[in-house]
Symmetry: C2
Subunit: 329 residues, 2 copies
DNA sequence: CATTGGCATGTAATCGATTACACATTTCAT
DNA sequence: ATGAAATGTGTAATCGATTACATGCCAATG
């Protein structure tokens, strides 16, 4: 591997001058610069980033922590992040917690030791140890998806999105609505979306029954199973609509309904959240909410870049959403 | 930030001993080890990876180069890679070429300068400069998806998969088959899949017509558009089946067909390749080929790890596939 | 008792860059 | 003409780890 010393020798200058030429810092004569650049071209020299990073404390790498690598939401967010960061010459160091909140903390510290310049966390839960760790590592930090105290957070407006969706169902004449949620450990998806649903139902005189409330695990299968449970438990007194807090679970629910001969939306309306690409192509196409995940990723990256430039930021940013009305309602 | 020197001071030993304790190399007394570990615990010390990597030439990071970050195929492969690497304590440095083959080369060199221990490339094309660059950087290297000369490659058996799919259509009674492919610059998807299609059609007496052959760009929209073109060009002499080389294009084609009132599969059978999650939930469900992408990622990671341990490997590995018969045929 | 070898630790070089500081030369304003 | 400022380059310290080599101690061996 060629080093800066090799370049220096071949160009008959000291490595200081080479460094200056490469980084456009300090004075370098036109003559020396040309000689150096020519040799750099010829050899394909690239500075050793470990050495550089050791000395400068900056690495040009941003750590990204995902709850799951294989969901559409994550992918879209990462895509947005990458689009912005790549343009600025940053690389992404990717980690996947597999929904394990211990790993979240472990990875934050690991990324710190790897000298990343900043961290973007796709958060799924909130706890004190996490907050403490983020404070400890003292790095430019950005959270997406949950409102972490004392951390710059980009949050989806889960409450109002969910409220809008519920309202829409009610105004289409549905008063008996089943609900498929997820664990309460997820404040955004598990708590806020359900809370808004309950609030609107109460306010608008909707009917909420315990056995119409299911709890899935984000998977298509769990949507299917929860739908099955709900229908079995309801007997004659059936809901006329089902609201699943994610598209995948909504699609699972649709599968079961279709299998059982229900017509959608005539016999049962179905809605989800997430605007997954699937939602558009299932039959009937699924009414859902678009959270503009890619945009969120881009914005997160931009905010992080601003932080790197020491700009002071607000602490909380609300993201927008959009209701997509399709044929399942 | 606490360094190895801080630990050494506080434990009353030299940093050499701390290093030995941390890496389990050389002799360290039980006493010293305990003192050191206690302080490491207390301070949450983590070795500076840049320094470590500068000295040892190893970083514990594997570079992964993707053609697109946002496709299901990429995601699944990365997922497989990550599963295996994370277990061994490796991190992934992710890059996205946005299908630009210049960036492929640029990123390979960039990753080298970042001291990655190895590179996995999800390849989409083959050219001399790429091969040369791979040779130049002289790193443990693994390609997935294209057969790169002199590089350990994991390749999908595109030819036989495509042949099987075509054969299946013919044995279901389809002799007039439209084909939606992609650019020939992609040897696997663009060339092999089409070649197999043509070979089988010829061998089995199928009918191939130029205006039944479309060329899309992997997107759902292009599938839709190519289908439209094909139907418009065919007039009364229509094919009875359409074979799109990716699920997304097949789904686009289905959209158009449904819009035009065709029944699938009665009026027109449709098949794709990729076993995307969507393929299962569109109506009718799509007949396709599963390439086990995640498995491919895992295997790639395992092979790369073997390379890191200096094991000699074969150069070419064929991956298996599976035909999934569903309702669209 | 002298020698050998295992154990424990430390000294200092090293990896490849950046950068504070020093020094020399040239340019420029007064 | 002269001192100040601008320009160009080099020396050597530094970042935080690993590791070759040296040293000292102690027990075992013959």
């Amino acid at each position: 591997m060629t080093t800066i010393n090799d370049i220096a020798k071949r160009a008959n200058v000291s490595r200081t001058t080479v460094s200056r030429a490469l980084n456009n810092s300090g004075y370098v004569s036109e003559d020396a610069r040309k000689r150096i650049m020519k040799i750099v071209e010829e050899t394909g020299y690239m500075p050793n980033q470990s050495a550089k990073s050791l000395r400068t404390k900056r690495s040009g790498v941003i750590g990204v922590i995902l709850p799951r690598l294989s969901t559409e939401t994550s992918t879209r967010v990462v895509n947005g992040i990458n689009e912005v960061l790549a343009k600025e010459g940053f690389q992404i160091l990717l980690t996947d917690t597999e929904l394990d909140s211990k790993k979240e903390i472990e990875y934050i510290r690991l990324l710190k030791s790897r000298h990343v310049d900043g961290i973007i966390l796709l958060a799924t839960n909130v706890n004190d140890e996490l907050i403490q760790t983020i404070r400890d590592v003292d790095l430019p930090f950005l959270a997406i998806g949950q409102d972490l105290p004392e951390v710059t957070s980009l949050v989806y407006d889960d409450y109002h999105a969910s409220a809008d969706l519920t309202n829409m169902l009610i105004h289409k004449g549905h008063h008996k609505i089943a609900f498929i949620g997820v664990s309460r450990e997820d404040p955004s998806v598990g708590v806020k979306r359900e809370q808004a649903f309950r609030d609107v139902m109460e306010r608008e005189g909707g009917v909420v029954q315990d056995h119409w409330m299911g709890t899935g695990d984000f998977s298509i299968d769990s949507g299917y199973e929860e739908m099955k449970k709900i229908l079995r438990a309801s007997g004659k007194n059936r809901p006329s609509a089902v609201y699943a807090v994610t598209d995948r679970m909504a699609i699972g629910a649709m599968e079961y309904l279709k299998e059982q001969g229900y017509r959608i939306p005539e016999d049962m309306a179905v809605v989800g959240i997430g605007a997954s690409s699937m939602s558009q192509y299932v039959s009937p196409s699924l009414t859902t909410i678009d959270y503009f995940n890619k945009k969120a990723g881009q914005q997160a990256a931009e905010l992080l870049l601003a932080k790197l430039k020491n700009e002071k930021l607000e602490q909380k940013f609300e993201l927008t959403y959009r209701l997509i009305l399709r044929d399942s309602v």
